[in-house]
Amino acid sequence: MRKFILVTLAIIPAAIASAQGAAPASTSSPAPAVSNSTPASSADVEALRQQVQSLTETVKALQQQVKDQQIVLEKASLARESALPQNPEPSPIAATANSPAPAAGARSRFPTEDTSVVASTTAPAAPSGAGVNENGSALPGSFPTTDTSVVTSTPETISSTGAGASLTQPITIAGGGKNYMNISFDGLFALAYSSARDLDHIEVGDHDPQQRGFNARNIELAFDGAVDPYFEGFANIVFKLDNDNQTQVEVEEAFLQTTNLPFNLQLKGGQFFAAFGRINPTHPHTWDFADDPLVHGLFLGPDGLRGVGGQISWTLPTPWYSQLLLGVQNGRGSTGYSFRNPGDNGIFFGRMTTDRELRGLQDFVWIPRWENSVDLSPTQVVLAGVSGAFGSNETGANARTQIYGADFLYKWKSSHAESGFPFVKWQTEAIYRRFEAGRGVDESFPVAETFHDWGMYSQLLWGFKKGWVAGVRGDYLHMTDSEFTADLDRQSRSRVSADLTWYPTEFSKIRLQYNHDFLEENFFLAGRDVDSVFLQFEFILGSHGAHKF
């Protein structure tokens, strides 16, 4: 209040000056009325009248000034409020100075305002200063924190529960953290033993353990963040060590996607995992087992189906979650495994492959997907989807591949979950592949045939205790027999797995897994059964973007 009066006093000279200047303009309605209604009279009276009139005008102008000043003050306080999050100190003083002193409940014993915690009130703050001091300084305590030095000098910053806990600055940019992007480093390692000498013939995923002993198959840099108001960007760069400890680098993903297209549409472009089923779009470190399901690694490829391309998705305006996606990718090379993949040494499924350029739209891989999700109850969620991938392959001039998939996820999570435990999760995917195997380059292979391959996996995970998950998984794969190829990748086979994972926190994990593989007769193995054990461990550094459901 005192401050306000001072301000008012300070502007009076200026107001007078401006009032004199502005006098003709501001004499609107009352002034002419006065001069008109008075008939001529003596000069003294007239002079007096003029004096009175000019005084009235001055007063009016002053009133106007005061009003303006109030508006300015209000605006200033508003501006201050909106600027607050970036501003370390200002508001408590402002708030108290602003607050009209004669607040109604000013005599309350317990403070109802506290400018040390609420930086931006425009509401009348009643007895804050005194209450804060009373509340804050009265409390001795022993809070064992380390940052006592921050802003202890100003009266409005009080120690909270006593000595240690100091109040600090308001947050910078709410919600967004302090960086332009999340940067994280993820290391995934495995110690493996297998009764098969060549573990790389047993495991089908490129990031699975590939040899007896230690494996470092997935060491990953991940970046994500807002590009600008229109796009978000993501990138995953994977380093892996091959069995001779040579480093290989993969640009696993690097894409941008739109954030605010109308009609619930979203576009995505760059290098990315195809939205096919549940396993394919996810990174190995999020998997519930140490290795890739057979049907995924052998139909969509050891690295999954991913490539350079684009994708459009639309969430339907239905009362439940329903999304349609359509992706298109080059589908070339080993990450387009069942498509335009020339194969190892130019041979795929026994054929010498053509390795040709894109001829038209039919040579792209087209990947449609429809996924739906409903909450069965507040603790149970079901998500089901169907996917497809259609394109050409390199075993013949006009050879085509069609892959169809269906996936299902059920999850129960306790309504009293701590850190997300306990939970039960059941996930199943079935995939069918129709593969037209042509006669190879220059019709060099004796026959053309069509393979009808199918397979599925089903896994059940039980998070029985905070940080602990037990799982079982069954894998089955049926490949059409071919008279002409004895390809290892065309074996029908199956597998059962069990694992136990401990997550000390969400940034680390240790997993023990046992696999039992049933195989056909083959050249590299005496028996048909393989037992493998993996000890997998992982750590994440930095801020890793949250995962989707």
Binding site: L84, G105, R109, F110, P111, T112, V117, V118, A119, S120, T121, A123, N135, A138, P140, G141, P144, T145, T146, D147, V150, S160, T161, G162, G164, A165, T168, Q169, P170, I171, A174, G175, G177, K178, Q257, T259, N260, Q266, T315, P317, Y321, S373, P378, V381, S414, S415, H416, A417, E418, S419, G420, K466, G467, T505, E506, F507, A546, H547, K548, F549
Partner: protein, 323 residues
């Protein structure tokens, strides 16, 4: 509703040659079209989504019957770890307002939901986005961010809603947002805020009086989520069953806690619905303290369907256990 019917009829009506027998078919088509148009047209109420039940409660206080409030997290579950389930995308997609904490409490699940929701109305900076921590001075902002200290929040402790004075500020931001988006009812929201403010101010006298005898007392909590409550009511809640935030209690740490509790004659252990109560019971029986069930969220304890009732319950429970 009439508009919907007209639109549906206009679309369905293909001209005079429509036969009588197809009338039923036409009606069915109208129904389908109406169902499609309802979400677009019937937007009389503000559609409000709150990430956590405490924000939801304030939104109901301010919005009354002029808003529809959807709360994502359950009152009884750990707010750090909520599944980003797809049905939340549906709620967020059609939200006019999103109220979130803004202090990274929901960082493990909200960002992927927002990516998928594609709703420009609730972007940060829009009037439809209320970040509750805005203008709040968060406590315990770490000078050094290291995960060796457990689940530390870089922006400060995000469990700020247990301080009623902070709740008032959040309510005010909510009222501002509602008034901006629904200016026709601005006076209604403003009045509701005043009502809420007056209720809290009056209640604070009550709560303050109840807690006054216990000023300076020490209380143990399972997790470090009560620093704001302690600050408000003059308690010291700085011993935790968790050795570090988010790290499960270890036997050696519990031994230390028990010694400390005995030395300081601590009488209460605060647990939340999702914590392992058996651990707290063990410590309680070793020290003669009482286990007090607390919740950060309205609905987390019986009879606490709104914010004021929640603080009522917390204050009376704690006072009873400290006597």
């Amino acid at each position: 509703m009439k508009l919907i019917r007209d639109v549906a009829a206009a679309v369905a009506d293909r001209g005079p040659e429509v036969e009588k027998s197809s009338r039923r078919q036409r009606r069915r088509r109208q129904l389908v079209l109406a169902a499609l148009f309802i979400p677009l047209v019937a937007q009389a109420k503000l559609n409000v989504v709150a990430t956590l039940p405490d924000f939801g409660s304030l939104a109901r206080e301010i919005g009354g019957d002029k808003v529809d409030v959807t709360v994502l997290a359950k009152a009884t579950e750990d707010p750090h770890f909520v599944d980003a389930r797809p049905s939340f995308v549906v709620s967020l997609r059609s939200a006019d307002v999103l109220i979130d904490g803004g202090a990274e409490l929901e960082i493990g699940w909200l960002p992927p939901l927002l990516q998928n929701a594609r709703n420009p109305k609730i972007e940060i900076g829009k009037p439809g986005r209320v970040q509750a921590s805005q203008g709040i001075r968060l406590m315990n902002v770490p000078t050094n961010v290291t995960r060796a200290a457990g689940d530390v929040h870089a922006l400060g402790n995000p469990h700020f809603m247990s301080d009623p004075i902070i709740a008032k500020a959040v309510a005010q931001h909510i009222a501002q947002s509602f008034s901006t988006l629904d200016s026709a009812n601005a006076a209604f929201y403003g009045a509701n805020y005043k009502k809420f403010e007056a209720a809290i101010n009056a209640k604070l006298q009550e709560w303050g009086a109840t807690m006054l005898p216990f000023k300076g007392r020490n209380v143990v909590a399972y997790h470090d989520s009560w620093v704001y409550f302690a600050h408000r009511f003059g308690l010291n809640i700085d011993i935790f069953l968790e050795p570090k935030p988010g790290i499960p209690p270890s036997p050696s740490h519990l031994v230390e806690v028990i010694q400390e509790m005995k030395a300081q004659k601590i009488k209460a252990i605060i647990v939340e619905p999702f914590h392992d109560r058996r651990i707290a019971e063990k410590v309680a029986s070793a020290t003669g303290a009482k286990v007090v069930e607390f919740s950060q969220f309205p609905g987390g304890l019986p009879g606490t369907d709104n914010y004021v009732k929640l603080i009522d319950t917390l204050v009376s429970r704690l006072a009873a256990s400290l006597k």
